[in-house]
Point group: C2
Chain length 172, copies 2
DNA sequence: CCAACTGCTTGCAAATCGCAAGCGGTTTTG
DNA sequence: CAAAACCGCTTGCGATTTGCAAGCAGTTGG
């Protein structure tokens, strides 16, 4: 996308790789939604990325070393995308961005519950989550506790509470 | 730039505001370089933003509440841009991005010294820095210690060391 | 055999980008 | 006090990127 390196500033270099509307969305879905196939990333996204954009971003993320790709043994056409250590290391960035977003932007409660947990858990929880991602995406041993399950369960609870509240008569 | 909100996810909403190549560059220069005028942001940037892009980004950042603008009393044409609390609160995001960039991308040593200090200082240092930014950009009282001076001094030392090394004969 | 699905590409109009020049006005300089 | 420099910001324009829809060859499951 961009070929001319402008400066050696770490923030600038980070933005040259991730500074667009979709790259971090793709990584978010891989990281927090455990979406590993093209179609999963394409269809199950709340934001609706276009297929050509997704293909382009996956290519760029591959080239930049944030993700890797291998063939799915059970399906000759499927490819499985995995986070690399470089991609997994973005957890603190996501945590900081999500915490900022939930404090200053009109987020929905059920979408911000995971950001809240990550903010409260702090770096200790982030490290646990990163260990789990190394198990899911690399060949690291399984950790004793699943942060992803915890986050997903909290999200589902929030969605259920929302639906329950919506089906109740107003004002109760 | 973008008008359709896609989802209430905090990461998505953050990217709708800041997910482009230049918005965070502008905020970085205001925050770490204390650049407050249009021309300062235009000319003294290592990356060379175009003037129309800068004007557009300043407008968007104003609309989204990340910065404010007031007239410069000493110069009828100048406007002074300041970070709001919303903008100052991006310090942890910058720290996380800068730390990630310096670990995985080909940064130059003198440009990454500040990222290193911020990473080592952790949240305690970030809070000190944010207090200083509230003094510089809002009407908060002056803090006892200047993190910005510390960062700037370290950066200048690194630049001087670099120039000294370059003027030496090779291999010494 | 066939419908559904796989990752991914193509075509195209619209939006955005980077670059250069310029604008009316203000401040500094000689 | 006039010329030069500077101020924030806009305009024009060609090149790139985006969003959207459709489609492709190959694979799988019923």
């Amino acid at each position: 996308m961009r070929e001319t390196g402008r400066s050696g500033c770490p923030i600038n270099l980070t933005l040259e790789i991730l500074g667009d509307r979709w790259s971090l969305i793709v990584l978010r879905d891989m990281m927090f939604g455990n979406r590993r196939h093209f179609r999963e990333l394409l269809a199950k996204s709340d934001e609706g990325i276009a297929s050509n954009i997704l293909a382009d971003r996956l290519k760029r993320l591959l080239e930049n070393g944030l993700i890797s790709r291998r063939d799915d043994a059970s399906h000759k056409q499927k490819g499985i995308y995995s986070l690399t250590e470089m991609g997994i290391s973005l957890v603190p960035v996501f945590a900081a961005m999500a915490d900022w977003g939930r404090r200053f932007l009109p987020v929905t409660p059920e979408m911000s519950i995971r950001a809240e947990i990550l903010a409260e858990g702090g770096p200790v929880l982030w490290q646990k989550f990163m260990s789990e991602l190394r198990f899911l995406h690399l060949d690291a041993p399984r950790p004793v506790h699943s942060v992803l399950d915890e986050l997903t369960a909290a999200y589902r609870d929030a969605v259920e509470r929302k639906h329950a509240a919506e089906s109740e008569p107003a004002g109760v």
